[in-house]
Structure formats: C-alpha cells, structure tokens
C-alpha cells in the first residue's frame, strides 16, 4: 500500500506550493506503468487532506497509457502493463512513456 505514502507526498507538495491558500482541485498524472493504483490514491487522498488547506479538494487523475517502441522493427505500441509483445514477435521494447507520477497542477481560491 505505497499509495498512502504517495497521497501524503502529494498533499505535502501541494500544501507547500499553495502557501496557505485554500486548494479546491488537484490534478495528477498517473501513467499506466507507474505501479500506482489511482483508486487507492483517491481513497488515501481524502484522509491525507484532512486538516490541511486541501480538505474537501477534488482530485482529478489523468491516466496516461504505456508507450513503447519495438527494438526489432521500430513499431510504436501502447500497453497497459510494463511488458508485452510486438506483433512482429519481439518482446524487447524501449519504453517511451507511461511511468509518470506527478502533480500537474492545482487550483486555489484566489483572494
């Protein structure tokens, strides 16, 4: 359940950058290959946001697919797990994207 620690980290990153402002929305990007379950992050986020300027903020999670290039034929493919096979039969893939785990942006009440 590393998602608890990850949710805590997300809250502390946003708390710091919000500099005391009330936060109403947080947007995350979680790649399909990040080994992080969006539902588990969602579950933990509300708990971690309690008693912080993020309490009650909505959480938007953008899930990005895993993308890889076949080292044999150069074909670009999409996967939702960190391994796979190119239609040419090759399993040696160069992973291009999908491991993202970041806070993209957040929205504060402007006073």
């Amino acid at each position: 359940m590393h998602e608890l620690g990850i949710a805590q980290e997300i809250v502390s990153i946003v708390v710091e950058h919000a500099a005391g402002a009330r936060v109403v929305r947080v947007v995350l990007e979680i790649g399909k290959l990040a080994a992080v379950l969006p539902d588990a992050v969602r579950f933990c986020f509300d708990l971690c946001a309690e008693d912080t300027p993020l309490e009650g903020a909505s959480l938007v999670i953008i899930e990005t697919p895993g993308r890889a290039r076949c080292r044999a034929c150069g074909n670009e493919l999409t996967f939702d797990r960190p391994f796979g096979r190119c239609p040419c039969g090759e399993t040696d893939l160069e992973w291009l994207a999908g491991a993202e785990l970041k806070v993209k942006e957040f929205e504060i009440i402007d006073v």
Partner: protein, 265 residues
C-alpha cells in the same frame, strides 16, 4: 493514529545499531523538504469565488529521488557497492545473505542494512555471522526509502571500497518504486512461490538487474515449471540475468558470487 499518514505513534520507523544497541527514530516522512519549482498560475473568473490554477508538473517521488541521488554520490565517493535485495517475504533473502557473508567474508568486506516492518530478528541472524549490521524497522511502512537508507548508512559507517547489501522489506510491489541510491536491485524468487511471479509483479522484475531463483533443491517436490518461470521473467525484462541457487545447500551460489565479485570495488 496520525491523521496525516495513518501511522500509529508507537509504530514510527526506527533504526537500530546492533553493535552499539543505539536506537534512533526515523521521522523523515513527516518532513516537508520539497524543492521550490518554478510555478505558473492563471486566474479563472467564474460566478462564485475566483480561483487560480497553478501549474506544477512536479514528480511525486522527486524528494525520494533527490535523496537517492545524494546516497548514490555518498557511496560513489567512498567506492562502495550497494545492492538492494528485494523479494516477497520468505523467499530466502536473509539465508542467502548469511551464506554469502560466510562464504565471501574473507574475500570481500560486507556490511548489511536490514529492513523489516518489525523485529530485530534478521539483523541478529546477520550479526551472528560476525558481519556489521543495522536494522531499519519501517513500522507501518511497506518499503525502505532513500531517507531511511541515508540514516542507515550514517549509522553503519561502511568502510571505503566495501560492499553494502540492503535487505529491503519483503514485498514484491512497493520497493520497486523507491530508488535508494543503490547500484542495482537484485530480486530473489523461490520455487515454492509459483512460476507466474514475474507476470504478477512485473515492476519488480523489470526494475532488477539480477534474478536469483532460490530453493532449487525443492524443485522435485513442488509444481514449479522452470521453463515457464524463465520465459515469464525474460518477457518482463529481456536483459535480466538469472542464477539458480539453493542458499541452504549451496547449489549454484558461484554464479551469484561471480556476479557480485565482478561488481565489487
């Protein structure tokens, strides 16, 4: 229970030096030591309170990655090889370490950082081999992180040009995400666990450089398809090196020792 992360007050991470008996609390996870990234904001003027969006694009694990880089530099400055040993609970990490220390102790200077949620049991087993060891107890945490290792290395104070073997918490999921600053991850699997482990836990097998398949002396007694296991492991990580061993009986250990020797300072 702590409202921030759900930990209970009596299960905070601790570090124990088996040599001196010193116990240190590790409370890094409550620190707020993030870098200040360049941020952009723009206003929204809807009906209701006016809001502003602040673009961050900050990696959630950036703090851990920064600390891992610091550990990597610390180790490199001292010419120390650090390996992160990962597996499910009961795969035989501690037994493999005991055997490795006994067999190579005269040849390579080895010290150990033990990671477990609770108890000093594994560190006591390592200490019994005469090896220097510190134990990190993660409390509710399911993995070691770079901040814990930094404290562990400080306390262990490994000699220059030595090898530090880090036994992570038994868990095939979470330790894959947390860089400690090690040179490589070594994943240990055992034939009693089932041959589909690489497919079930692909992140760990993908993040590792060496796979040690342990307990091969039990192969005649379990329904473990070695060919399937190797096929699955290579599908997940085509570059993964594999050695097959029995840490209790000694079979195949030369393959692991050769791998370790070729990377030792």
């Amino acid at each position: 229970m702590c409202k921030t992360c759900g930990c209970s007050d009596d299960s905070r991470p601790t570090l124990t030096n088996l040599e001196t008996g010193r116990v240190v609390a590790l409370d890094e996870r409550h620190d707020h030591d993030h870098g200040h990234d360049h941020v952009h904001s723009h206003r929204h003027d809807h009906a209701g309170p006016s809001t502003a969006t602040i673009a961050l694009e900050t990696a959630v694990l950036a703090k851990n990655d920064r600390l891992a880089d610091r550990n990597r530099g610390w180790l490199a400055d001292r010419g120390i090889l650090a390996l992160n040993l990962v597996s499910s609970p009961g795969a035989g990490k501690t037994t493999l370490l005991e055997r490795t220390i006994r067999d190579l102790g005269g040849e390579i200077s080895i010290s150990v950082v033990e990671g477990d949620q609770e108890t000093l049991n594994d560190a006591e087993r390592i200490q019994a081999t005469g090896c220097r060891v510190v134990q990190i107890n993660t409390g509710t945490g399911c993995h070691l992180d770079a901040a814990m290792l930094a404290k562990g290395l400080d306390e262990l104070d490994p000699p220059r040009g030595s090898v530090v073997l880090i036994e992570n918490v038994g868990n095939l999921v979470c330790p894959a995400l947390f860089d400690l600053g090690e040179r490589a991850k070594v994943v240990i699997a055992s034939v009693t666990e089932g041959d589909d482990k690489p497919l079930k836990y692909p992140h760990m097998f993908r993040a590792s450089s060496l796979l040690i398949l342990n307990k091969i002396d039990l192969l005649p007694h379990v329904s473990f398809d070695l060919a399937h296991f190797l096929k699955h492991a290579r599908a997940v990580n085509p570059a993964l090196r594999v050695v097959r061993v029995s840490a209790t009986r000694g079979d195949g250990l030369e393959g692991w020792y050769d791998w370790l020797r070729s990377r030792s300072p």
